[in-house]
Amino acid sequence: MQNDAILTMRGITKTFPGTIALNKVDFTLRKGEIHALMGENGAGKSTLIKVLTGVYEKDEGSIWVVGGEAEAHIHSPQDAQNIGISTVYQEITLCPNLTVAENMFIGRTSGQTVNWKEYESRATAILDNLGIPARAKQQLGSCSLAVQQMVAIGRAVDMQCKVLILDEPTSSLDDKEVAMLFKLMRELKGRGVGIIFVTHFLEQVYEVCDRITVLRNGELVGEYAIEDLPQVELVAKMMGKDLNDLESLEQVGHKSAGADEVVYEAEGLSSSEARPFNFKIRRGEVNGFTGLLGSGRSESVRAIFGADRVTGGKVRVKGKDVKITNPREAMKNGIGYLPEDRKRDGIIADLSVRENIILALQVMKGFFHPMSKAQMRQFADEYIKALQIKTASQDTPIKSLSGGNQQKVILARWLLTHPDYLILDEPTRGIDVGTKLEIQRLVLKLAEENMSVTFISSEIEEMLRTCSRLIVMRDRKIVGELTGDQLTQGYVMKTIAGGEQ
């Protein structure tokens, strides 16, 4: 154990029914360093943070905090705070209806009355000291998100925290606000606070951090000094791929670059979640959006479908200018979208398989043109057979199907509307390998039948097998469009990472 370590975690194991979320993970935080905790979805970052903050109890392993001779026992967020571990979460955990000063002191004062004068003068001192651009008497809700986050940090600092955990603090901030936050982080670092920084933005890691710990699938990959780990290697470690390992891929079908006709074209399209981008797709083409989690790939396709509030840009469908501001308009223009989170956005759990299949077609027809029962049964049967959906009957509630079969039902829903352009956002997540291959084959078959498809997957191999063009995103911007010979794992990963650094 290093002498300047203020937090040491050894052999942390945490299991949930059916999965090992953390397997003997070690983590060390030193005094006055900013330490990035990196990993893809499911790597165990948030589990590790939650063990540290007492939200979860660890199964095995030990935690030492400097100042405490013995092992630290953390059973609740309160325990964590008492030994000097404070957390600032992505979503602000302050009260927007109270003043800045109150938010700093509420819940941690003794005495039955509120001394407003004292609150305000102490809060002003903290704000001035840390250079936070807020006034003590201001209502918190009238501050920008970045300032609210800083107020939360100010509260933590005033509680004499030694370890400050920042869990994705920058995901809803703009560049200027991020710069303000970084200034504050460096200031705290200078005072000897150890900061754990969790983020998806690679460039931010390299801008502000001293060390990186990488997790993958609940296991520790390694701890590195920032100068020893170029960005591209970091990506490789997060994804668990060796750069030189260019295994030959099993082809599942013929990739198609599509005809000349452009089915969909967007110029400077932006939404409340996505920054402006240009995009087009040809008839019969399969393309893909790739990038790390949080890079903006889902947000971009949601903007195409009008699933978030569209804020600008021009859209042409088959050469005609159209306006797509909500999913219904997108569907009327022949666009289908299979959402990333099928439990939340896709299935209606208590309705039957048949009703879930019919849904999109019924919406397109309008509710004043009902379909006959016989017709619905016929459609449902047709697609249950075509996609080999394993269900007891078409009247079975969809929630009793397996994940892969649920996914096929939603796919059937969109195929039934015969879209010209189908967007599949992570259609293969959480389903078994056999079904994955089936879905990939289906995508290629649809393309042969002249449908245009955008396919998104976290697994690069899947994308390389199916897509003839890959759009690479990083930090919410398109950073490359790869075709032909560029479609290799190594090249894709380099583009994601932003070249050698």
Partner: protein, 352 residues
Amino acid sequence: MTGANNASRTRRREPLTDAQLLTTISICIFVVMYAAAMVFLGGGFLKVQQIFDLLNDNAALIIISCSLTIVMIGGGINISVGGVIGFTVMSCALFLNAHEGGPMTIVLTVLLALGIGLAFGVLEGFLVSYLEIQPFIVTLAGMFLSRGLTTMLSVNPVKVTHEGFLALVKAKIKIPWLGYIAQNGNLIPAKLEIGAVVALCVVLLVYLMLRHLRFGRNIYALGGNRQSALMLGINVKSTCFWSYVLSGLLSGLAGLVFIMHKPAGNASVAMRSEMDAIAASIIGGTLLTGGVGNVVGTLFGVMILATIQKIIALSPLNASWWQEMASGAMLGFFIILQSVVLSNRSKHKKAN
């Protein structure tokens, strides 16, 4: 010295908080409305007694509106307040008639009223905060229970016959210098009932509690964001519990004030008054979503509703349906105004 200067400068520059803004709006509307009534209807509106009458007639409503404001700021609701008034009034009337005697009986009556309110508050508070049942459902049950108990005590109206208490009912605080000269030249002093004084004291005390006690501020935090309040180290459950206890206690007090204004129990006493109290709180700037509100605004909310009814009673449109429609229109107008003002604010914030 410069520090003090700085502080005073920032004080002047600080924009109103949401709660202050909404309260200010309702006070302004009351003033405008009342001034218009003075100009166009004249008569009673020119006398101070008119304002006192509004207070005398609505003292119980003011108290339960404060009680509603407290739970609404905490993000809850309490629709049993009207029922608790009814039950308290009936119990006190029967108790007074059964015990002749001196001041001791009256003291016991006061304790009975407060005890009934407290019992409902404790029960409802426990169910809402510790068993985490929806406050709407819990207090709906409380409303049915209290109405049922009232009818069980007596199906027929009960008139208070206790002389000592009736003397208290008639007692009025006279303020000569706010009075007016009647046509026959006599000075008629302005009269304020004891209940109205109690109601104004409640407003003041609840205002101070919400503003200066840790408990009061915790209620705001709870209503602003329950999860955040928990993370900030506030005992969310106990805060929620005590807010309902206080709300229940105030309902019992309102029952007492009610019977001091109209000394008779009746199965339909204060029927629907919980709805008036919710309306008054909202008009006074309390948000149903919680976290924002102020009992001073609530007082003006009651006064606005009462003034509308008075104006309509004095106008050619004197019919109960016009009064209800005007109250409904006012409530709708306020809710729209609130959402416009608050959404303008958040747009302004984004632009900054």
